[in-house]
Each structure stands twice: as structure tokens, then as C-alpha cells.
């Protein structure tokens, strides 16, 4: 019950959740790590799904390596989630430092980890969209290796994939909201500075995600 309450607080009342929770230089990393690992597992599942689909496109010579390639994608997605956690925390920490932020990096890491929780739900939803899309679509192999890249780009730029990206971005924004409140507590900065600290990377992320669709 307590966990459920905590989850509800993180999602709906982040200010109240972080208030008094980020104590000391070394707050507990267990729960944030668990959230990020769940996010990593979900990302890995989604990556496995996409990898299986893209391997169908590969020429027959490469298609035999489907297991290996899918394994690499799964591991990369899982480790990528952990790396993403650390990197985004570093970015927040760096920007907040420029805005006069104080406090240990682990405090930022904890905040960033908690803030990843909406992205877990985002991953579930976008992963479901991708799974349903790939289940209903037929993908043909491409014998010319030169065309594989274009074919994968085409696969990723279809409307359903774009919807999945939008859903992910919406939940990233939700996470960003949590990060804003968390960074105020973790780095002892104002709401405006926390908004700038979080806003800049999130906007860049949004642009990176959607520029290919726009361009």
C-alpha cells in the first residue's frame, strides 16, 4: 500500500513526494535503480520486438544472425536505459550547477531515477503500440544491403511509430515535470532554475526525436 502511495505521489504529487525525501548527500538509490531497471527491461522488450521485425528485412545471409542481433539489441536497450539515467542526471547536474545548484550527484541521480517512472508507463504504452503495429504489418526482406538502412528508416517513420514516439514524448514531459520538482529539492534551486535545468535537455530530446519526422 505504501509503495502504491509512493508511486501515486511521484506521479501526481511530486512536490510532496520529494519534500524531505532527498536527505543527505547519499540518499537511497534502490528504488530509483529499480524504476530505471524496469524501464530498461521494457525498453529491451520493445527493442527485441523492433529488432525481430527489422531482421526480416535483412538479406538471407544476415537474417541467419537474427538471434545474435536481437540479443545485442536487448542488451543494448537495457544497458542504454541505465546509461541514459546517468547521462541525463549528469546533464541536469551540470546545468543546475550553472544555475547555482548545490548538492551531491547522487541526489540528482536519485531524483532522475524517480522521475523515470512515467517513462515506464510510457514504454508500456508505446511498446504496445509498436507491438500491435508490427504484428499487423507485413515486412519483406531486402536483398540489397544498401537499401536496408532506407527500409528501416521507412519502418520507423510510419504513422504508428510516430504515434509511439509522441506517446513517449508525452510521458517524458510528465517525467520532466517530476524532475523539475526533484531538482529543486536535490540541488536547492528555484523552480525557474529547475525548469531551465530540465527544460533544455527535454526540449533538445524532443527536437531530436521529432526532427526526422518533420524534416
Amino acid at each position: 500500500m505504501s509503495i502504491m502511495m509512493n508511486i501515486a505521489d511521484i506521479l501526481l504529487r511530486p512536490a510532496a513526494f520529494f519534500s524531505g525525501r532527498i536527505v543527505g548527500d547519499k540518499p537511497g538509490l534502490k528504488m530509483p535503480l529499480l524504476i530505471v531497471m524496469i524501464y530498461g527491461i521494457l525498453s529491451a522488450l520493445s527493442a527485441a520486438n523492433v529488432s525481430s521485425a527489422t531482421m526480416v528485412m535483412m538479406p538471407a545471409e544476415i537474417a541467419g544472425m537474427e538471434t545474435l542481433m536481437t540479443g545485442i539489441a536487448v542488451v543494448s536497450a537495457f544497458i542504454g536505459a541505465l546509461i541514459f539515467w546517468v547521462i541525463i542526471a549528469a546533464i541536469f547536474h551540470g546545468i543546475s550547477a550553472l544555475r547555482g545548484g548545490k548538492g551531491d550527484f547522487q541526489r540528482t541521480l536519485v531524483v532522475t531515477g524517480y522521475g523515470t517512472l512515467p517513462m515506464v508507463f510510457g514504454s508500456v504504452l508505446s511498446g504496445t503500440i509498436i507491438y500491435l503495429y508490427l504484428s499487423g504489418v507485413t515486412i519483406r526482406p531486402v536483398s540489397d544491403p544498401m537499401q536496408v538502412s532506407a527500409a528501416i528508416s521507412e519502418l520507423m517513420s510510419v504513422p504508428s511509430m510516430m504515434i509511439a514516439g509522441v506517446v513517449s514524448l508525452i510521458f517524458v514531459i510528465w517525467s520532466a515535470n517530476i524532475w523539475v520538482f526533484g531538482m529543486q529539492e536535490a540541488r536547492s534551486i528555484s523552480g525557474r532554475d529547475a525548469l531551465i535545468t530540465v527544460g533544455i535537455p527535454v526540449v533538445i530530446y524532443g527536437l531530436i526525436t521529432f526532427l526526422p519526422y518533420i524534416g
Partner: protein, 386 residues
């Protein structure tokens, strides 16, 4: 005096006896001078209705001329013409020969006839000689020595006709002519020429039947100066040639790629004859596309096989396409076989994209809107509570 009369009477009686005897000796001597030294019959054997010549050579082997009144050939159930030319022959000198030629027409049944050559001499004697003439209606022997097991309409096949001469005499001008009743031949006729007794000759015709009418071949030949003909027929029944090449497709794999399909497989010649110019392509509703609109395998010997690869495109929703195999036989006759190829085992394709079937469900838009609303509400609420 009385004895003298008796002596005269005896002498007269003796003389009366001697004169006929002397006359008889004189006649025998003239006939003995003449003899039939040669008889030529052309043709050697007559067929019913044949005309021919009988040449009789008479030689005077004596030392005095012999006067001949007339010469005649008396028919023996045969018609003889030309003997009126010898109504007044004249004489034949010592050591000379005379040839008498008669025309006979063999309008009689098979058998040997003996027309009588009769030479009437002016001294009331004559020369007789019977000339044997054979009449036999047995014609040339004709047989079909080679033909296909079954004909196919429009397919060129070889038919071999053998002509044999079972006669005693030589026939010449032997020509085999196809009658072209429902079939075509490369050769308009085949000239064999002379056939000596007990000789046979073959003639092979490349025939292309179009109907199931029996093929008629007529053999024209001459017996002496007489034209004859004999016919033979080759029954035509359309069917499947048991030896013909037969292409079998197997190991077929249909692989969609880009905007088209690739079909690979093996084509095997399961027949007993060579398959020439083997080609594999696709038929409607498939549309052959580059790079392998049609794959030319080439010649396939019996039990030989080769791989092929063809490419085609097909509209979405098409379930089957035709895989067509064409080949020719050694005469250039074209054969074709089709194999229905299901596409359900292969991924359905569209013409543009390697990713097919992406329709944006309306529900996703609704989900996005709901998510956006929820997140906006949460964010608003979290800031409001603060």
C-alpha cells in the same frame, strides 16, 4: 519288147516315188537354214494391262537366201499389236538376221502365256516358235518401318517408308509422294529410282499432322514403259508421345523483395528426349519484371536439371500466379506447361514500400489525446498544489 515296156513302167513308177521324196528333202533344207536366235521381252514380267515389246530375231544360217512371206505373233489370251507390219517381209540373205518386233498387251490374269511366233516362208514351209510371257500382278512391297508412338497436332515427326521389289525384274522411276491430306511434309516427294529384284529402299518424311486423317503416301514406279502406283497409309491418332521431353519444376521458393517477387527453383527434364531452349517465366496475373523477366535455361538432356530464377510483380490480393515453362523439341516444335504458384506462403507485397499494411488506427490518436490530457492535467495539478 514286152520287158522293155515293163522296165519303162517301173522307171516311171520309181520316178513318181522319188520326186515327192526329193521335193520333201528340198523343203526341210530351207527351214533348217532359219532359226530363232534371240527373243527379247520388255518388260520381263508384265502386270495386268501392261504394254510391252516382244522382239524375235531370226537368223539365216544357210548359204542361200530364204524368201519370207509374212511374220505373225499369235496371241495366247494376250493382245498383240503390230504384226500387220510384217505382211510382206521379203527374203533373208545367208548369214543375215531379221528382228521382228511385236507389241503385246497383258490383259490377262496371272500366269505364263506362250504366244506363237509364226514365220510363213514362200516355199510353203514355215517357222514356229513359242515365246513365254509372264504376267504377274504382285506390285511393290510397301511398309512403314518407323513412326512415332503417338502424333501430336502440329508437332513434326519422322515417318519412314520402305519400298521393296519382290519381282523378278527391275522397276525404275520409283518415287514416293505424300498426299498431304491433313498433314504437312518438309519433303514434297522422295525419289528412289531403280529397284533391282529383292532390293529395298527407305525414305524418311518429316510430317506435321493437323488432323487425325490417315497419312497417304503414293509410290509411283514404272514397269518398262508402264506407269504404276501403289499406296500406303499411316494412321494418325493424336496422343502424348511417351518419349517426349517433360519438364518438372520443383524446389520452388517464392521470396518477396522490394516491389516484386523472386522465384527460384529447379527445372528437370523427366522425359526421354532432349528439351531444347528451355525457358521459365511467369504468366498472368503476374507481370514479369527485371532483372529476370524470363530465365533461359537452355538445353536439358533427359534426367538433367538446372536452376532458374525469375522475377515478377503482382497486385495485392492475388493468391496464385502461373509459372510457365516453355521448351522446344529438336524440330522446333514449341511445348508449354504451367504450374500454379500460390503466393500465400510468401509475404503479400505492395508496389511501393517494403513495409506494407500500416494504417493509422483512429484509436491511437485517441490514446495520444487522452495521454496528453492526463499528463497536462497531472502537471497542472502538481503545480497548482504547490
Amino acid at each position: 519288147m514286152k520287158y522293155r515296156y515293163i522296165l519303162y513302167v517301173c522307171c516311171i513308177l520309181l520316178g513318181l516315188c522319188i520326186v515327192p521324196a526329193m521335193a520333201a528333202d528340198s523343203s526341210t533344207t530351207v527351214e533348217g537354214q532359219l532359226g530363232v536366235t534371240d527373243v527379247t521381252i520388255d518388260p520381263g514380267v508384265f502386270m495386268y494391262g501392261d504394254s510391252g515389246m516382244v522382239k524375235v530375231t531370226v537368223t539365216n544360217t544357210g548359204t542361200t537366201s530364204v524368201a519370207i512371206a509374212r511374220a505373225k505373233l499369235y496371241p495366247s489370251e494376250l493382245d498383240v499389236m503390230g504384226d500387220e507390219n510384217y505382211g510382206s517381209v521379203g527374203s533373208i540373205g545367208p548369214g543375215n538376221s531379221l528382228q521382228f518386233t511385236f507389241t503385246i498387251v497383258a490383259d490377262a490374269a496371272d500366269g505364263i502365256y506362250y504366244p506363237l511366233f509364226y514365220l510363213d516362208l514362200r516355199d510353203a514351209s514355215s517357222l514356229r516358235y513359242r515365246v513365254p510371257v509372264k504376267v504377274e500382278n504382285t506390285g511393290l512391297s510397301v511398309s512403314v518401318t518407323d513412326r512415332p508412338d503417338a502424333f501430336t497436332s502440329g508437332k513434326k515427326e519422322d515417318v519412314t517408308i520402305m519400298v521393296g521389289n519382290p519381282w523378278e525384274n527391275t522397276v525404275n522411276g520409283v518415287v514416293i509422294t505424300p498426299m498431304l491430306n491433313g498433314f504437312e511434309t518438309t519433303e514434297t516427294s522422295h525419289f528412289i529410282g531403280t529397284l533391282i529384284p529383292d532390293q529395298a529402299a527407305d525414305a524418311t518424311f518429316s510430317v506435321t499432322p493437323y488432323t487425325e486423317n490417315a497419312m497417304e503416301f503414293t509410290i509411283h514406279y514404272r514397269n518398262g514403259m508402264n506407269d504404276h502406283e501403289v499406296s500406303t497409309s499411316v494412321p494418325v491418332t493424336f496422343g502424348i508421345d511417351r518419349k517426349q521431353a517433360e519438364t518438372v519444376l520443383n524446389n520452388i521458393v517464392v521470396t518477396p523483395e522490394g516491389d516484386h517477387y523472386i522465384v527460384t527453383g529447379d527445372v528437370t527434364n523427366a522425359g526421354l528426349e532432349d528439351a531444347k531452349s528451355v525457358q521459365v517465366t511467369t504468366g498472368s496475373p503476374a507481370v514479369p519484371v527485371d532483372p529476370y523477366r524470363s530465365y533461359v535455361v537452355g538445353a536439358l538432356e533427359p534426367d538433367d536439371f538446372a536452376s532458374f530464377e525469375v522475377t515478377f510483380s503482382a497486385e495485392q490480393g492475388i493468391e496464385n500466379v502461373q509459372l510457365i515453362t516453355n521448351y522446344k523439341d529438336k524440330d522446333g516444335n514449341l511445348y508449354s506447361s504451367q504450374l500454379t504458384l500460390p503466393l500465400d506462403s510468401a509475404a503479400v507485397t505492395d508496389k511501393k514500400s517494403p513495409v506494407a499494411g500500416d494504417d493509422l488506427p483512429f484509436v491511437w490518436i485517441v490514446v495520444v489525446i487522452i495521454c496528453a490530457a492526463v499528463v497536462a492535467g497531472v502537471i497542472y495539478n502538481s503545480w497548482k498544489k504547490k
